[in-house]
Symmetry: C3
Subunit: 271 residues, 3 copies
């Protein structure tokens, strides 16, 4: 049996909204320590990993580990019934085929109560990429969203180039080429942009997925990108003590780059 209370139904709503377009059916693993979900997207290209810590809930009880098979599209529909400032209670037990959700408005005059049907789903074994982070770039999540959306008007891929205190997102297509360069202000300790890297990074990703990850933007003010040569990108959104959501995406393999790494310094790759 799991029973969990969260002050803000809104944060759970945003969380499910940020996953449902990538993964529709998934397994929520409930344990004493919290609720965890790891899944590949429907086209088996990207990975999502979500962790909600028991300590981040206002109340959390789970007597023993068990799995909930959930359709996230249905769950997102139910969560639309929650008011922006409602608190939320989730309840489920291994003996039951429904997930129970209830929302209470601030003055407790309106209580809504829903039973959602659970689904049978065989647990996917997902192995997350090894952590091997040469470059860590922290940028405002609003800027991340805008850049990913704007570059879609240019092309289908995004080239990410990073060097100390500087990261560039660029694209090219029919109408031309171009991109965004974000720079850390070293004189400003509170710079909203921070790029730490040991070596130069130059990787290309499918823009569509970076845009799908951007749906988690409303969860927090900043997003952190973890980049390493020839390794998957990890895009992380944290929700304070409550936990995090992480997305993984492998870079596109570029034959020119494979055989010859010397063109790293060109500003725009247009092959």
């Amino acid at each position: 049996m799991v029973e969990a209370v969260l002050h803000s139904a809104g944060i759970f709503k945003k969380l499910i909204d940020s996953i449902k377009d990538l993964v529709s059916d998934c397994t929520l693993a409930c344990t004493r320590n919290g609720i965890r979900m790891q899944a590949m997207d429907a086209s088996h290209i990207s990975l999502v990993s979500m962790q909600l810590n028991s300590t981040g809930f206002q109340q959390y009880k789970c007597s023993k580990k068990f799995n909930l098979g959930v359709n996230l599209v249905s769950l997102a529909k139910l969560l639309k019934c929650a008011g922006a400032n409602d608190s939320m209670k989730i309840k489920a037990s291994p003996h039951n085929d429904t997930l129970s959700l209830s929302f209470t408005n601030p003055d407790e005059s309106i209580i809504s109560q829903f039973e959602m049907k659970l689904i049978d789903i065989s647990e996917e074994t997902v192995s997350l990429p090894a952590e091997n982070n040469v470059c860590i770039a922290k940028i405002p999540s609003g800027e991340y969203q805008k850049i990913c959306r704007d570059l879609l008007t240019m092309g289908e891929d995004v080239r990410i180039q990073a060097s100390p205190r500087k990261i560039t997102f660029s694209s090219f297509g029919q109408i031309g080429s171009g991109g965004f360069t974000l720079q850390q202000n070293i004189e400003d300790e509170n710079s909203k942009i921070s790029i730490i890297t040991d070596e130069k990074i130059d990787l290309t990703f499918t823009l569509k997925y970076l845009n799908l990850f951007a749906k988690a933007g409303p969860l927090c003010d900043f997003v952190t990108l973890y980049l390493s040569p020839k390794s998957p990108l990890m895009v992380e959104f944290t929700m304070g003590q409550l936990g995090f959501i992480r997305y993984y995406l492998a870079p596109k393999v570029d034959e020119a780059n494979e055989s010859d790494d010397e063109d790293d310094d060109k500003d725009m790759k247009q092959d």
Copy 2:
């Protein structure tokens, strides 16, 4: 001849918008006492009754009773030409086949003037259900709108259950079941929710119509539901001295309930 001046074209705009999706062609009956409209919706399932009192207008003159045949969709289009803070003047006469509308902006620098073609329509005799109100529930119209809209994501019907100081709107469908419970705070004299009932109410209605009625929500802060066992629901929105708009809808006949009323206490009906 009728000639009427209203301080706010906006309220008339909202009024027509709240009817036009139910009733397209209707008869406005103009008398010394005001303007009245009663009609069934196109599928002959629900009823609308609107009353505008002569005393609610800034000026009102009507020498003798006559009927105006109006297409409400055209009227709603013309009313879009009114600014939010414009005043409005309506003019029509039995000898004329047009309705004259004019709008004046607050500083009187812009006056708009329209002639709308009237239509020939035989007056429908509509008999309103007898008033027999066992339960009167007053709730914020914003909540009514949200509940009706949210339940559409669940199912096609809404079950309304009322007991003293408590009303529940619930639904069920493919993804699960659930609903909203609104409770009157008896310790708070200014409680925004008030439910007065002599006996327990348990009725089911087609959600689509309750959503159509919800379009009148912008007309006032509160909506009042009048409920009686086996009788049509009346949903009332009042506009102060100006009058009201009322919608009527018969409950769905449920055979199980007909033969056996004892399942009133079950929280959710899922047959």
Copy 3:
């Protein structure tokens, strides 16, 4: 070579947005004095004339006159990448087949840089109508936008009638007829409406084009209409020192009016 810096990318964005639905491919003529564009719309019915003065830019350099062939739809897409408060730099040279655009956000932490492909386009020789302005009407551009949009619900044409201190825009169609009268308050020196005319004006135009011109509304608070009997209308939006955008449209020829001008005083023409 032309190199120009503008404090606000936003104004350039609005400018291109106000032209791109009329003219997709055009020639920007760059000279020492600024950038000029004159083109007919795709259906060869209306004319657009844009002038950006070198003195309106924060920096402007152009060594010798040359033409840039630009697809405005692509340019509008690129300009969406500019933040609302970004500054903008444009660069192009006759030897290059791209236009270079860069945007810088207020704290200079984000710089975006784009290369847009130029197009081959033979310069259109456009002869602007002679200036012969009997009537000059200045009205708030928000009102102009609202009137043009609202009249579309009535009909396809707009009849513009002007007399000293008064201008009427009217239309008629299936649902009826009507229009807007704007009046100058002679007692108020700061009247937002000013209509100066030597003689009575009565002209009819295709509403669709007046609506397309209205897209320039966000560029400035007021729009000026220049009207003369049997002559094209000029609709002008000015951007202070930076320049202007002007649209030209010939009136519809009405045979009744041609042979007989005496019906000028009728309020609404419904032939």
